[in-house]
């Protein structure tokens, strides 16, 4: 049995996390780190690219970038001068289902940074000059991505796995959709994209939780947006019915990037913890689990190989990712498929399970060492409706999982004859 070598009482929990909901909607989670001279905040607002039509793919990401381009009172340079002069950072990004934001500053500068965030959210200017600049930057990034074997293999994977689902669309869109964006598009999206409903913010560092709540009330307590969009329902995605394979050739690439995968279990759903332990055994434990041992250590075929369970609301992917020499591509696929068959045909050993359980439990103190790690945990607690004591309860949840639980969860998701396999590199 893996009993934690540390007291779980030292992990963030209900006695040191403040959770409060403002009357207009935002939820705050805060935890103090008295030793820290800095404060970090992370948060999200429901929305994101799901609110955009496919013909405008990439608009939500473009919009998030344009939010930082200046406000009605502060031109681009003035806005960034205020942030950078504090030695602070502030960023906004659009995902599929949320617009996320984060900031970091010395503790005395938190009110200033939160006020700037409010101004950015409510009074963006979408200036013409920055619109042109960000469009050129976006088109260049799209060109770079089209030459990136890892990106291309990943995009092909999403296209095959998600089909007509909005999650198949690339976050930055396509060059033809980006070319067509206009400032009125941004203004229209802004009307409904951001608002206080469903906003979540985690504040961690050298500030008392009550003080953080007071600051949040001062800056966001009166925010209203009657036009804030309701979140649409998210469709399910069917499991692959047969193996789908695609290779995207790119010239003059020394390495081929490879992805093999399927749908992942619902994050924090009934199969999640068993699958997480299984994934750790498959392609994460130590250097890279079973896959690392076979493909890297024994066959010497890859420097980078690992498995990964996607997390988030809505469907996500469970993948094996590797970079291999083009001549070794088929050999690597065969070795990975053999390991996947083993994964679904026989239970993991008791010692493998015990090792992975011990690793995940033992790593908990490290995962919350930094303010950033704690803030990320607090956001997950809110996003997935977990108990404030989730981290303290996790060792018990993992202890209850058996090798058979892992086998059954693996069998529900991995069907070695019905996978998505994509690669990008030298032509084959």
């Amino acid at each position: 049995m893996s009993t934690p070598a540390f007291s779980t009482r030292n992990l963030p929990g209900s006695d040191d996390i403040l959770r409060a909901v403002l009357s207009n909607g935002p939820t705050l989670l805060a935890r103090e780190n008295p030793a820290s001279p800095a404060v970090i905040f992370r948060g999200y607002i429901p929305g994101g690219s799901i609110l955009v039509e496919p013909k405008q793919a990439g608009l939500a990401t473009f919009y998030a970038g344009m939010l930082m381009a200046g406000t009605k009172r502060l031109a681009f340079k003035d806005l960034h001068d205020k942030i950078e002069s504090l030695g602070a950072s502030l960023s906004i990004a659009a995902g599929s289902l949320t617009t996320s934001f984060s900031g970091q500053c010395l503790r005395e500068d938190l009110p200033t940074l939160l006020n700037l965030l409010r101004e950015i959210f409510t009074e963006p200017a979408f200036p013409e000059k920055q619109f042109k600049r960000i469009k050129a930057q976006t088109l260049t990034i799209l060109d770079l991505q089209s030459q990136d074997t890892g990106y291309m293999a990943s995009q092909a994977f999403d296209t095959l796995l998600y089909g007509n689902h909005p999650f198949a669309l690339p976050e930055m869109g396509f060059s033809q959709t980006v070319e067509a964006f206009s400032i009125p598009d941004l203004q229209a999206l802004h009307q409904r994209m951001l608002g206080p409903k469903g906003m979540v913010i985690a504040v961690v560092g050298g500030i008392a939780p009550e003080a953080a709540l007071s600051e949040l009330e001062k800056t966001f307590g009166d925010w209203q947006n009657p036009d804030q969009a309701e979140m649409p329902s998210i469709d399910d995605v069917p499991m692959p019915a047969q193996t789908l394979r695609e290779h995207l050739p790119l010239e003059e690439k020394a390495q081929t990037d490879l992805m093999i995968g399927t749908l992942a279990p619902e994050t924090m759903g009934p199969d999640y913890h068993a699958s997480t332990l299984g994934d750790n055994i498959l392609g994460r434990f130590g250097m890279a689990g079973r896959l690392g041992e076979v493909v890297r250590e024994q066959a010497g075929l890859a420097y980078g190989i690992y498995s990964s369970i996607g997390t988030g609301l809505g469907p996500s992917a469970w993948r094996v990712i590797a970079g291999v020499n083009p001549d070794n591509l088929e050999k690597a696929i065969d070795l990975i498929l053999a390991e996947l068959r083993r994964f679904v045909n026989e239970p993991v050993s008791a010692s493998e399970l015990e090792d992975s359980r011990a690793q995940i439990i033992g790593r908990l103190p490290l995962s919350v060492e930094s303010n950033s790690g704690v803030a990320q945990t607090l956001l997950s607690i809110q996003r997935y409706g977990l108990s404030l004591d989730y981290l303290r309860e996790l060792p018990g949840l993992l202890q209850a999982i058996s090798p058979e639980d892992i086998l059954h969860s693996a069998q529900r998701y991995w069907h070695p004859d019905a996978l998505v396999i994509t690669s990008s590199g030298r032509a084959i």
Binding site: G87, D143, E293
Partner: protein, 411 residues
């Protein structure tokens, strides 16, 4: 070097060896990095997977890095695992096996690591710019080694390198975090005092304090984007000029984080080059940076060309902005701002014990721990005049390498 801290139940243990690509001879580039890989393959007492399992089971993580100047191995673990870590590190300091079969497997793994890097045209350009930035100093070589050398290095080369340089006389142990100093010292005595130190003769290259130029490097490849990389000589980290150069970099391209671990960054959108080149639609992006290195290294500017511009226009705009910096008075407030940004970045890294331990060893690799402790104080002493003197001394158009990557058929 030990720093006892009880802010979190975590320890970070680092073992630094004074050997890196700086000490490698022609034909044997990549030896230090390959030896680092072999250090995860096992000793007579413990196989590689057994080591890996022991660390992982404890909830810790481990890794290693090879640089131009050093090779270092670290473990960050929940407190209470100190003896396990020291036994592992003492064991592999002198008893690694270098099994010939494992050596051959690792040859293809390292070639794969190199191929992954070569996929990025900016890495290919950086390799050529680096080769052109020195006459013979090994800083010109990639730490991973050339493909030719990786194909010809033998097990005997690797094992000889290991035997020569992996020994207490060439090592620094750094420990930070939640431990008792007296007990830790006793463990160090138990595990390391019996290891043998032998005389060693490490190749010491002649520093190249200036960059003979100008040199142009041209590459072509697929894609539609043009990149420029410009390398100037910069001072060694122990040179008093390094502090003024750090401020110079911050003014030009924004503050660089010194933290290898932990979170935190400060933007660069008000930096002089961003404003002059990106805001004025000469470039899509600009980044600057340098390493704190033992010998004089390179200060690199990486630019992505705006599609409506030519490389010549971008270079002229860059030179115009550099002239502006050297010819017009720099406001005191701009320096003070750069210092505040550096202070904030320090604060952001302070909640991470791994980062602290890293800095204790890193600063010692080119100076001593006081360098790290005095860093912010030294930055705050830098004057506008010093920054201009440094800019005039180092950022000369006739002493630089200009690397250009163009798409096939591009301008």
């Amino acid at each position: 070097m030990l720093q006892e801290l009880h802010t979190a139940p975590i320890i970070s243990h680092w073992l630094w060896f004074g050997i890196g690509s700086r000490n490698e001879l022609p034909g044997k580039t990549g030896l230090s990095h390959w030896v680092e890989h072999m250090q995860f393959k096992g000793t007579a007492a413990q196989t590689g997977p057994e080591m890996d399992r022991a660390i992982a089971r404890s909830g810790g993580y481990w890794n290693a890095f090879t640089s131009m100047d050093w090779t270092t191995y670290f473990e960050t673990m929940p407190a209470g695992n100190l003896e396990q870590v020291m036994a592992l590190e003492a064991g592999r300091m002198q008893a690694s096996l270098f099994d010939p079969i494992e050596v051959e497997r690792e040859r293809t793994v390292i070639l794969s690591e190199r191929e992954g890097s070569e996929n990025d045209p900016q890495n290919r350009l950086a390799e050529q710019v680096s080769l052109a930035s020195y006459n013979s100093h090994p800083y010109r070589n990639e730490v991973i080694g050339s493909k030719e050398d990786l194909l010809s290095i033998t097990r005997e080369d690797l094992y000889g390198h290991y035997q020569d340089y992996y020994q207490p006389a060439n090592a620094l142990l750094v420990l930070a975090g939640d431990f008792d100093t007296k007990a830790a010292l006793a463990l160090i005595q138990d595990h390391f005092a019996g290891l043998e130190s032998r005389p060693f003769n490490r190749p010491e290259p002649q520093p190249e304090p200036s960059l003979a130029g100008p040199v142009e490097v041209n590459l072509e490849g697929p894609g539609e984007t043009t990149f420029l990389q410009i390398a100037y000589r910069c001072p060694a980290a122990s040179d008093p000029d390094f502090y003024a150069f750090t401020i110079l970099d911050s003014l030009l391209a924004g503050p660089s984080s010194l933290n290898m671990f932990g979170s935190g960054s400060v933007g660069q959108r008000t930096s002089r080059l961003y404003q002059a080149l990106v805001e004025n639609e000469m470039a899509i992006s600009v980044y600057g940076g340098m390493n704190a290195s033992f010998d004089p290294g390179t200060y690199n500017l990486n630019l992505t060309l705006h599609p409506s511009r030519s490389p010549q226009e971008l270079l002229a705009a860059l030179d115009g902005e550099l002239a502006n910096l050297t010819d017009s008075a720099i406001p005191e407030a701009e320096i003070a701002r750069a210092v505040k940004q550096a202070q904030a970045l320090f604060a952001y890294g302070s909640d991470n014990i791994t980062n602290l331990a890293f800095w204790m060893g890193y600063a010692s690799s080119f100076a001593n721990y006081d360098w790290f402790l005095n860093y912010l104080g030294e930055l705050s002493q830098v004057t506008p005049e010093q920054v201009q003197v440094i800019a005039r001394r180092y950022l000369q158009a006739e002493n630089r390498v200009v690397g250009l990557y163009r798409p096939y058929g591009g301008r």
